[in-house]
Amino acid sequence: MSQSVFAIADQDLRTDPIINLKRLSDFGELKIYRWGNASITPDGDGNGFADIPHDLNYAPSYDLFVKLPDGYWSPVGAASSLAFGDATATIFGVSDEEKLRIQTIGGYSKLASLQRDFRYYILVDKAEGFNGSSNIALTGDRGMKLSEDDVNVFEGQEYQMRMSTKYRSLQYFKEHVVQETLSLPLMFSSHDSQDNIESQYVDFDHGLGYPPLFKAFYGSGSTLRKIPDNAYAAVQASDIVTQAYYTSFEVVAKCNSDRVRLQFRRRSVFDKELFLGENGGSHFPPGQLISAVQHQPKTITVTIQVYTENLEGSVYGE
């Protein structure tokens, strides 16, 4: 691949591998448009929302973190008993051409009725196939821009810029990309009482002294998946199965000023109605195993990518 405009290297621009080139105009960069704080005090059912308006005229990409009652920050995106204490409660972000909306969905336990604090990042980069003009003024800017191929840098929209000194970059130290392998053991339900639940976590001390924006992933088998991930009621591209109550599996990550904690939780359900045949219910056929769900032993590679972005730091554009 050619370096069509410029590149910044750590050592020798001619010999550094691409991964070590700090800035390379062949590739686009995420550009932060504005970032700030929001809070929601949900209603008695745990439902509520907060709107953060923007003037981009298209639906932007975003990053969204919620502060948990234990003081940790967690990326939102899935129902989570680990993050919210209730697998039926959750928090989502959605965007359109006018706003970023953060929404809480109350669960059975109504834990979501607690006030929630958020840090949001709205990006210049799109969340949709938009080809029109944004509302961002393109005149009077100074600095440096690099447009996509075949886009006139003087006329191109901001979202068509591979980089622009007008916007903050989302950056990280290469030392802050950390991988670890976790061994999750075989597990299954007990037979006469309760579901079994087990969890495994890895703590990564990031050494930054503030709660950082981070992204986390896990590799299981041949696929790479994003965290948070949850299969309580989820569809999974791996098997297109609508996961039932029995196959509960979730992965969450959260951070504070000391560490990023990445946690797996698995649950194997005991179904008394099904397996004891009470009230004339059906019996399982001889030869069938008993646990409603057995989680097989797994070795999982987790990756945590920590950015030098303070979730409790200064804001811009609120």
């Binding site: 990409s61 989502f92 969905i105 600095g143 976590y201 590799g219 009621a233 297109i240």
Partner: protein
């Protein structure tokens, strides 16, 4: 070796014994006419040897005194290497030193039910006998306890009592490894050594902030750190509940992000989006769910509704 195994007493009449009933049934408890009705049950073909982590006996009950009172019993193993079929009264056979006390609350009999008890110590004692071999039979003796409520009893056995429950399902369950509630020790990764200040490269501070004095928090960009590099952005349309596979042409699993546009509300959702177990209404009535992952060949996207998806592929390999 399979971790979880189930061994049936089955429909063999010689696997059950009752002091008072005909062959093919076990009994336990106190009967109005027969008095205490001790019993026995046998499970042939038990595999494995040495200690297991969990063993449970499940007694299929198809006749009982109903709600009259508690059934209370002591249960032993038959202290034999390979318990032979119950062609004759087994109640006098040697007992294991391990036993268990079992107090069963009154319960209705509606079409039969199953009772369960942990017998790990008994099974381990037998499987640790010098003469034990995998595949041998294990027997249990059921002896009515003095605290049994008078006239409270139950029985089960081969399936000819007409309760319509199919095959008898009294069974012995053995788990060689019982990992329930097992949580491995957490791992801790120490903080990395970050690069020190550099006097070369590129740095850009906020407007109005001296770039030579700016803190990290006041920087728009500095070449001592990396940025994520976007290889490509693509727009695709998904069909509800059909996995869309997009070749990415890389030799590794790239990091990908995606936003799905709901056909209901027009909102854009960050994937994966998993609704709670009891789906509740999302923003403006949306229940869209979706998932995204990558392997070494494809980006794979699944949405529960037809959706437009904006996908972003990053250069950097996250998991080798």
């Amino acid at each position: 070796m399979a971790n979880e195994k189930m061994f049936l007493a089955g429909d063999d009449a010689q696997n059950y014994w009752s002091l008072d009933y005909a062959d093919g049934y076990y009994t336990i408890g106190n009967h109005p006419s027969n008095g205490d009705m001790d019993g026995a049950i046998r499970f042939p073909g038990v595999t494995g040897s040495g200690n297991c982590q969990e063993a449970r006996i499940f007694l299929f009950v198809n006749d009982s005194s109903g709600l009259s009172g508690k059934v209370v019993l002591d249960m032993w193993g038959i202290d034999e290497d390979n318990t032979s079929p119950f062609g004759s009264d087994p109640l006098g056979r040697a007992k294991t030193s391990e036993s268990t006390f079992w107090e069963i609350d009154p319960m209705p009999l509606v079409g039969g039910f199953v009772l369960s008890k942990n017998v790990t110590n008994i099974v381990n004692e037998i499987r640790n006998r010098m003469g034990w071999s995998s595949g041998n039979a294990i027997g249990f003796l059921l002896e009515t306890h003095p605290s049994n409520t008078p006239h409270s009893w139950f029985s089960g056995g081969i399936d000819d009592l007409g309760v319509g429950m199919g095959s008898s399902i009294s069974y012995l369950l053995i788990r060689e490894q019982a990992a329930g509630n097992f949580s491995p020790a957490p791992k801790l990764i120490s903080p990395p050594v970050l690069p020190g200040p550099k006097n070369w490269g590129q740095a850009q501070s906020y407007p109005g902030v001296n770039v030579f004095e700016a803190t990290d928090d006041q920087m728009y960009y500095t070449s001592k750190k990396r940025v994520e590099r976007i290889i490509e952005e693509i727009d695709v349309n998904t069909t509800a509940n059909v996995i869309l596979q997009i070749p990415h042409g890389l030799s590794y699993r790239p990091r990908v992000t995606a936003f799905a546009k709901s056909s209901v509300s027009g909102q854009r959702f960050d994937l994966p989006r998993h609704m709670p177990s009891s789906i509740q209404t999302g923003p403006e009535g949306d229940t869209l769910e979706g998932d995204i992952e990558s392997n070494e060949t494809y980006i794979r996207i699944l949405t529960t509704q037809n959706a437009q998806v904006h996908c972003r592929i990053f250069l950097d390999e996250i998991v080798p």
